[in-house]
Each structure stands twice: as C-alpha cells, then as structure tokens.
Symmetry: C2
Subunit: 65 residues, 2 copies
C-alpha cells in the first residue's frame, strides 16, 4: 500500500535519514522516498497510515492530517 | 584557546550535533557551543583554528575564512 505524507520541519539530509529510519522502525521493509524541497514523504508499506505518521511525528516533525 | 567560526548550512539539531561531533573528533576535550540561528560556532580547544575549521567543512558546512 502506498501512503503519502506532507511533512513539515525536514531541513537537511540528516532529517531525511531520521524520517526514513523512523519509518523503518515501524516496518523494516518499508520503501521510503523523501522530497526535502516539497516535504513530501512517500511510503510503501503494509503498516497503517497512522502508525507511520506517528513514527514521523515522534521524530519531531509535523505531519499533515 | 577560543576559536570563533561563522558557519553556513546548519539548519537543525542534527546539524548542530554533527558539527559538535566533528570538532570532538579533532579534540575530544573541546568545548563546543553552536548558535543555530546565527551560525556562530565557538570552540574552546588547544587545536589549531585550521584543524577545527577543516573538520567542520568535511562535515559538509561552509566556514567563513
């Protein structure tokens, strides 16, 4: 399943990696793409949208509902 | 000795930690203060200014001469 998130607060490559790692902690097999410029994060995963969004939020970023 | 650097490119707490760690790899006892807003990095260290500046540059940030 593909989930799309609009994430605020990612400013650099460290942030990108932090988000990717946070998602992978929820689903080690997730495929995560981050577009820093637009803040768009695309996740292919069988986990729920909420579980993934919460993982990103816990990393300190805002995720649009 | 206190060194003052004007560093460009630090955007977030990850960057701050990356710079602190880079300086500490040159001098494990360095005291490093980072002001993200202004980009000012203050380092108390017996190592040379050049050695510290180069460590910060190698981390991917621009240091004013």
């Amino acid at each position: 399943m593909q989930h799309q998130f609009s994430v605020q607060g990612m400013t650099c490559g460290h942030c990108e990696r932090a988000v990717v790692h946070a998602v992978r902690e929820v689903d080690t097999e997730a495929v995560v793409r981050v577009d820093l410029g637009s803040g768009q994060v695309t996740v292919e995963s069988d986990k729920s949208r909420d579980a993934i969004a919460n993982a990103i939020r816990e990393e300190g970023y805002q995720v649009a509902a």
